[in-house]
Amino acid sequence: MAHGPQPVMSMSGRVVAAGAVALAVVLALTLGTIVAVFVRAEGVGGFDPADWAALRFTVTQATLSAALSVALAIPVARAIARRRFVGRGALVMLLGAPFILPVIVAVFGLISVFGRSGWVSQSLMAFGYEPISIYGFHGVIIAHVFFNLPLATRLVLQGWLAIPGERFRLAAALGFTSRDIARHLERPMLREVLPGAFLVIFLLCLTSFAVALALGGGPRATTIELAIYEAFRLDFDLGKAALLACVQFGLGAAVAIVALRVALPSGFGGGLDRAVQRWDQRGPLRTALDASWIALAALFLILPILAIAFDGIGALATLPSQVWTSAARSLGVAAVSVIVTLLLALPIAAWSVTSGSKLVEGLGTLTIVASPLIIGMGLFIVINPFLDPFALALPVTALVNAIMSLPFALRALVPALSQIETQYGRLADSLGMSGTARLRRLWLPRLARPLGFSAGLAGALSLGDLGVIALFASPDTPTLPLQIFRLLTSYRMDDAAGAALVLLALSLAVFWLLDRGGRVNVDG
C-alpha cells in the first residue's frame, strides 16, 4: 500500500550487545592503538626534511597513481563496454583479480616484466634504448597502476553499463554522431563516476606500504607508512613513529571526509558481462583502436602474472622447506583472520541493519583510514609490558588482517542483511523467530553468498598481507609473503619465484573455495 511505513525491526538485546562488543574491539584497535602510540611516545619531535619528503612523496605518488589509473581506465572501459569478443567475460573477471593478488607476488611479476633484466628492458636494449628502472618513483607508480587500473576500469565500466540501452537506441534513432553521444550520454556519466573512482584509488595508494617497501625506499621514494615502519623497526623512535602515524591518520581522515560527500563506488557490482550495443562505432579503424586498448590493458595485467608462472614453475621442485612451512603458517593466520573477520562483521552488520543507523557501519569502516602499521605498533606497545610481542607476531597479524578486511565484509553483508530484513523481517517477527532462531534459520542461510565472499576476501587478503608481519617479524616465524620478501632482498630469485607462485596459487584457491562455498545449495 501507498503509505508504507519503515519496517519495525525486532531489535533484540543480544544483537545490540554483540554489535557493541564487536564495535568496541574495532574502536580499541583503530583509535585505541593510536592513543597507545601517543602515550608511549616521549616527546614528539618536529618534522625533519626526511619527513617532509615522505609526506610529499606519499601525496604525489597517490595523486599520480590515481590520475593515471583513472585516465587509462576510460578508453579501456569504453572499449570493453562497446565490444563483444572472445574472452570478454574472462577479461572482466581478470579485472577483479588484482584485489586478491598478494602485493609481493605482483611486485615480483612486475620486476620480471619491467625490471632491469626483465622483458621490457631487454627489448628496449635490443633496440639500443636505456633499460627502465622498476625501483624508486617509477616502480611505485607502475605497481600502483597495475593494482588500481583494473579497479578503475571496473568502476568506469559500471558507469557505462548503467546508461540504459534505450538511450543508445534513441541516440541511434536521432542520428547522433560519436561526438554527440559523448556529449549527451558519456561525459555526464564520467563526471559522476570519475571523482569517486579517483578518491578510492587515492586513498588506497595513500596507505600503501608493501609496494613502497619492496620497490621504493630511500629519500626519494619513501611513503609515510614506510617511514613509520623504519622509525619503529630500524630506529625504534616511537616519538617519530607516533608523529608520522598522526600525519598519516589526519591525511586519510581528510580524504575520507571528502570521499563521504562524493559517494564512493563499490566496484563489486555484478552484471559486467554484457556489452552495450552501439551503432556509431562501426568501421575498421575504431574497432582496431578499441582492440588495441583492450590488448594493452590485458597484456599489462596478464604478463606479470604469466612471468610468475614461468619463473616459478621450474623452482617448485627445489623450493627450500622453509617456504612450505611458512606457507602452512600463512594458511593458519588466514584461517584465524577469516573467523575473526566474520565474528566482527556479522554483529556489526546486524546492529547496523536492525538499528537502521549508518553510524555503526561508518565506524566499522573507520579501518579504511586506519593504517595496519599503526595498529600493529599500538598493539606492540600495549603487549610489550606483559608478553613478548614477537612471540605473538602471528596472532597479532591475524587480528590486524581481520580488521583490514572488515570494511569489505561490511560492504557485502550490510546491504544483503538489510534486504533480508525488508523481505522476511515481518514474517520472522510474526512467527516469533528472534535471537538464535533468527540467526540460524534466516540470516545465516540467506547470507551464505556474501559470507562466502567476505570469507574468501578476508582469507586471500590475509594470506597475501605484507604489512604488520614485517613489523613483528622474528627470523624463524615468517609468513609466506615475508619469506618471499626475504628471498627477494637476498637475490635468491629462483626460490622467490617458486614461492611467489605458491602464494599466488594459495590466494586464488582460498578465495575461490570460500566464495564458492557460499554459492552451493542456495535457493531463491
Binding site: P5, V8, Q423, Y424, D429, S430, L431, R441, P445, D523
Partner: protein, 232 residues
C-alpha cells in the same frame, strides 16, 4: 472478541482512525480503494505498527505490549510468506517452533497439516519447486498449526488466477470454520467478500468503519462503497 479502540495511526500526511469490535468466529473482509489504509489497519493489529493513540484488545487483553510473534495472531502477507531456503515441511514447522526444534510428534502434525491443505508428500520440496497456489497452501498449513484465534490475511491471493483464487478462499473459510478462528481479510475484490465474509469493514478516507453484514452492505451500499464499486 477483537476490540479496536479509538485507534489512530499517523504517518507524515496520513491518518487512519478505527473504532470497532468483531465477534469471535466472524469472517470479516476489509474493503476499500488502494492507499486507503487497509493494510495499515491489519499491520497495527498484527503488531507491526505503533499506534499514535488507542488500543487493540483480544478478549479484553491489551495487545500493545506484545511483540508480533507473541500476539494471538497468524498473518499471511501479500508475498514472501515462505523462506526459500527452508523446505515446505520446515516452513510449516516454524509454526510449532521458531527455532525448528521439532519432535517426531511435531513432524507428524506438520504432515497432517500439509494433508489438510492438500499437499500430502510435498514436505521435502523447497518453495522454488512449488506453484503459486501450493505456496499459498503452505502458509495456510502453517497458520493452521500455529492455531491462533485471529487469522489475518493481507491480500494473499492477489497473484492467483480467478479459479485458483476462489478455491483458496473456500479453503480459508473452511479452515477458519474448523478452527473457530476469527478471520480478517484485506481485499480490493468485492467478490472475495461476497464469497466468504460475514461482515465488511469499509476503509475510506482515513477511516475504518465498523463491520456491517455483507449481504446488507452490498444490497444497500453507502456512498463511499458505491463510488468504489462503480457501476457494477
Amino acid at each position: 472478541m477483537l476490540t479496536v479502540e479509538d485507534l489512530r495511526i499517523v504517518y507524515e500526511d496520513f491518518t487512519l482512525t478505527a473504532d470497532f469490535t468483531v465477534e469471535t468466529g466472524r469472517k470479516v473482509a476489509i474493503l476499500g480503494p488502494s492507499g486507503a489504509g487497509k493494510s495499515t489497519l491489519l499491520s497495527a493489529i498484527a503488531g507491526f505498527e505503533t499506534p499514535a493513540a488507542g488500543r487493540v484488545l483480544w478478549d479484553g487483553e491489551d495487545l500493545g505490549p506484545k511483540a508480533p510473534g507473541a500476539r494471538p495472531v497468524s498473518v499471511i502477507f501479500q508475498d514472501n510468506n515462505l523462506f526459500p531456503h527452508l523446505t515446505t515441511a520446515q516452513n510449516v514447522g516454524l509454526g510449532l517452533s521458531p527455532a525448528l526444534r521439532l519432535s517426531p510428534a511435531d513432524e507428524t502434525k506438520v504432515e497432517e497439516a500439509l494433508g489438510q491443505v492438500g499437499l500430502e508428500g510435498l514436505g521435502g520440496r523447497k518453495p522454488g519447486a512449488l506453484s503459486g497456489g501450493q505456496m499459498a497452501r503452505v502458509s495456510l498449513a502453517r497458520a493452521l498449526l500455529r492455531h491462533k484465534p485471529l487469522l489475518l490475511l493481507d491480500e494473499p491471493f492477489g497473484a492467483l488466477g480467478p479459479a485458483l483464487r476462489v478455491e483458496m478462499l473456500d479453503l480459508v473459510a473452511d479452515l477458519a470454520e474448523r478452527t473457530g478462528a476469527t478471520l480478517l481479510m484485506v481485499s480490493h475484490e468485492p467478490g472475495d467478500a461476497r464469497r466468504i465474509a460475514d461482515d465488511v469493514v469499509l476503509v475510506h478516507d482515513g477511516e475504518a468503519h465498523p463491520p456491517v453484514n455483507t449481504a446488507e452492505i452490498f444490497a444497500n451500499p453507502p456512498a463511499e462503497l458505491a463510488a468504489y464499486l462503480g457501476d457494477s
